[in-house]
């Protein structure tokens, strides 16, 4: 299970902004809206995928994020095909 924690819309993201500012000097152009976030991977014992997802969501909201500034969402652990 993977929990993604991102800053809420409108909350300042100094880390993302600093990385973005540094990019042109490193030869990366055309990159914008850089946002830094956190992710947590874990194994959850549960009867079903939906039960696991529910558990992860509750974990995400109660422990892994601060809802005042962050959004959290849980997803199943397979890599999204690219």
């Amino acid at each position: 299970m993977i929990v993604d924690v991102t800053l809420r819309q409108g909350i300042a993201d100094p880390e993302g902004a600093t990385i973005e500012r540094a990019l042109p000097a490193l030869g990366f152009s055309g990159v914008s809206n850089v946002k830094a976030g956190k992710s947590f991977r874990m194994t959850i014992d549960a009867e079903s995928e939906s039960a696991a997802l529910e558990k992860a969501t509750s974990l995400a909201e109660r422990l892994l994020s601060n809802p005042v500034i962050e959004d959290a969402a849980a997803r199943l652990g397979e890599r999204v095909a690219t």
Partner: protein, 758 residues
Amino acid sequence: MSSPPQSLHRALGLSDDELDDIKTVLGRDPNHLELALFGVMWSEHCSYKSSRLHLRRLPTTAPHVLVGPGENAGVIDAGDGIAVAIRIESHNHPSAIEPYQGAATGVGGILRDVFTMGARPLAVMDPLFFGELTDARQRWLVEGVVSGISGYGNSVGVPTIGGELTFDDCYRSNPLVNVLCVGALPKERLVLGVASGVGNLAVLLGSRTGRDGIGGVSVLASAGFSGEDGAASIDDAKRPSVQVGDPYEEKRLIEACLELLDGGLVVGIQDLGGAGLVCATSETAARGGVGMDVDVTAVPLREPGLVPFEIMTSESQERMLAIITPENLDAVRALCDKWEVRAAVVGRVVAPLSRRDGTTQGMLRIRNGFDGEVLAEVPASALADEAPLYDRPRERPSTLDQVRADDPTFDEPVGSPNDDLLDLLVDPVWVYRQYDSQLFLNTVVGPGRDAALLRLAGPGLPSSTRGIALSTDSNPRWCALDPRNGTALTVFEGVANLACVGAKPKAVVNCLNFGNPEHPEVMWQLSESIDGMADACVALEIPVIGGNVSLYNESGGSDIDPTPVIGLLGVVDELVAPPPGWNWREGNVLVLVGAQRADGERPFPLGGSRWATKRGRRGGVVEGVDPVALLLTLDFVVAEIGSICAGAASDVTAVHDVSGGGLATALAEMVAATGVGAEVVELDGHAELFSEFPGRFVMATSDVEALEERARAAGVLTTRLGVSQGERLRVGSMIDLSVTQIASRRRDALEEALATLN
């Protein structure tokens, strides 16, 4: 300019009377934007409307005061061509909602107040107050606040050298996070937040503006939390978008601003704090007696769609407003580019309007484009200085006599004094270990002792061998019982802390954390507390050069205990050797120096002591201290320790003032620090062990007759307490503990308490 609906002013925190005042000032109805500007500027937080009347009673002058209260920071002349700036502020309400960012932005804000004066910030202190450590939420608050201060302070590159740490359930939903900053500057670089020179430009430096804390600090800090659990109930409209601190931006801003000042490129400079741009522009204009045109469209935004009201009142962090001449614009831009600091011309200084009576009035005009539509037009001084002044009703709490009568001083002790003593020992090392306390190579005494002591040195300062000492103190339990006496004793305690590092007090700053001023009992507490501070400062001849008032610290209708935090700044004239600290050696004689008993009916009062509070006993009487004896004692200790700092040989090997936890705690702390035990005479029961009244010092000496002789000559009382030796602390028949037991308990108490809460 359409006029707003009836209730808009109330939603903005303005009373009906205040709306009438605004109409009188303007001679017409305000529009929405104007009303919003008044709403934030006339909030309690920005205008001090409930406290200003009382603050006037504080003594604020002395020959060495260069800048007193009212500016961004107070400034004294510390000698050798160096001026020292100091300021304290609260960030209580934001920290209750998001402890990390609340505390972090508190540090950021206080630094800006200091470098605004042209001073390089050299040190921070952080008095903190939480509920008892009994649940995971308090732990979350403690860890969040401490890591916020650590995360911001360390990264921005200013050492945190001390603070306070108090746990009491009155702070359960209302943690207090106060931050003090001290900085230094070559005397001639002193600048003030003044706009002048018609045609000059107002340049906004630093971060882009977002919807951070709109109406935030100002509105939040001007209304209590309604529900039981502060954070849970603030969900609604009052919840601002939380401000996020960026220490890296602030670091570049500090360096850029100091370079601008060194280069003589600015006329005036002002930080953006509570109430953001409207506050910075109206205050600078008001101080300079000029008008200012602000172009809201010129303000760099972090996100699209902000309306003028949001732009003007946003509390986005890490921004400064510099007033410069147009000729310097290119140079300012070049310097800002070097530091990667954004610089945008957002305003112009304009001539004040002439009024019929021959006086002039500087107008703050908010415009849509420099030559565009005028969105708001109000007298700058009306916003900045002319908020209504309230003499709110005051009333001595009706329960106070009863509470005072319930005095724990004569309680029969239950259990063993050994356990009582162990229970009182807490080293906040878990907190201050997270703070860089040594940057700039000035820290002679860091956190964990009586006062912090710094060399008075820093980049760009004239050379000096002086030192500055700092202490923050509070005693809410005393102040709940007797705000006047309690606050005076708190000042005395701070001065005693300075004496332990050989420093003479030069200035006081204070942060008055109180409950809801609309409660007459709270106003009485505030007024009494201010009088107590004034009395103590007059007696000691110390000017109060700055402060901050944080009101509405209440939740669920109950107010915190009155919590005046006293910050003291002292100077050591010659600092070439460290003060002796707590490290006595084997075989020293231990002497109690100063008053032997309190000045009242109770020789060893326990009302408001930590010993009594631990037992749930919150009543009693706070006795006074004889100021004459206190002054003699302080002078004596300062002379003794000051001479050691100046490099002289001395028989004095250790010194520590008696404060929280009383004499027994002071002895145990010294035992823990040195690893050498002590054999101490019988004392007058648990009251003498644990009574906290200030003005007493434990000194250790290798030549007791010589010390006693010097004390006698100075008119200071001494008694022999015993001898430092062995591996146990024994006090008469009452205390018998091993050195390791004391040391490990003291070191681990806080960390263990936190670890049990998951």
